[in-house]
Symmetry: C2
Subunit: 128 residues, 2 copies
Amino acid sequence: MAEPSKLTLASEAPCDVEHLDPNATEARRARLIPAGAAEALAETFRVLGDPTRVRIIEVLAGGELCVCDIASLVEISESAVSHQLRLLRNMRLVRARRAGRQVYYTLDDRHILSLFQQGLRHVTEERR
Amino acid sequence: MAEPSKLTLASEAPCDVEHLDPNATEARRARLIPAGAAEALAETFRVLGDPTRVRIIEVLAGGELCVCDIASLVEISESAVSHQLRLLRNMRLVRARRAGRQVYYTLDDRHILSLFQQGLRHVTEERR
DNA sequence: CTGATACCTGAGCATGTGTTCATATATTCA
DNA sequence: TGAATATATGAACACATGCTCAGGTATCAG
């Protein structure tokens, strides 16, 4: 059966020319992060890769808020907020608590907040 | 001409019910990160929000590499790598150096690498 | 020059994403 | 119960994204 992909780079043989080090690429192959880790890492960053979600996380960093307050602060429709909150909920980044008619959301992942803060430092530092 | 958006939530008045603190939302409005910062932050994270780019950054973390080596290590076509490298170049995350026929790429942003590493710690820690 | 190698780039395409709109569910109050 | 409020959800749409494919540029060898 034919291969599904034409990527023949499987074993080695990158270019025909000698590189920095003949077997440097081979040595690097061993030091790659485990399979799936790159995907998980990308997925984590992807959550923060949207301005609306960034803002939601930002306002929630100040503490618990109900949906309409989030919508008001982020200046986006409540429906859009609700959709994003579901995404964040499914990824276990926020937690919901019902209190009467409102539902209050809280950050539920200390990792995301520190990533957020470090990213913020870098962004504000860069545009000096 | 009419407003493009029907978002009337401009001033305040989130819900009709009293919140945790009557003027808490108003107080939070002042502490929001500057306009545009959320966008810049999201854009930064968005770059890391793709497995291919994560892998490219990963292999480049080990030092300078030519395009075909990157393609070989990341196991993706050279064309796809080239496209991603252009993106990373435009965002000033990598730098290119021509040496004969090959072009060697290096990481050109200390921020992205530390974000990458912190994200990696969190991901590997989470799936213990 | 010609050919070969290494990389770049535009077009096209399939897939993913974020929003709106309409509607559904849940809770409270009268 | 019925109306009003707060949130959730599905469908649809516009748009972005990442890849492949087919060429294009740049460099070097002969």
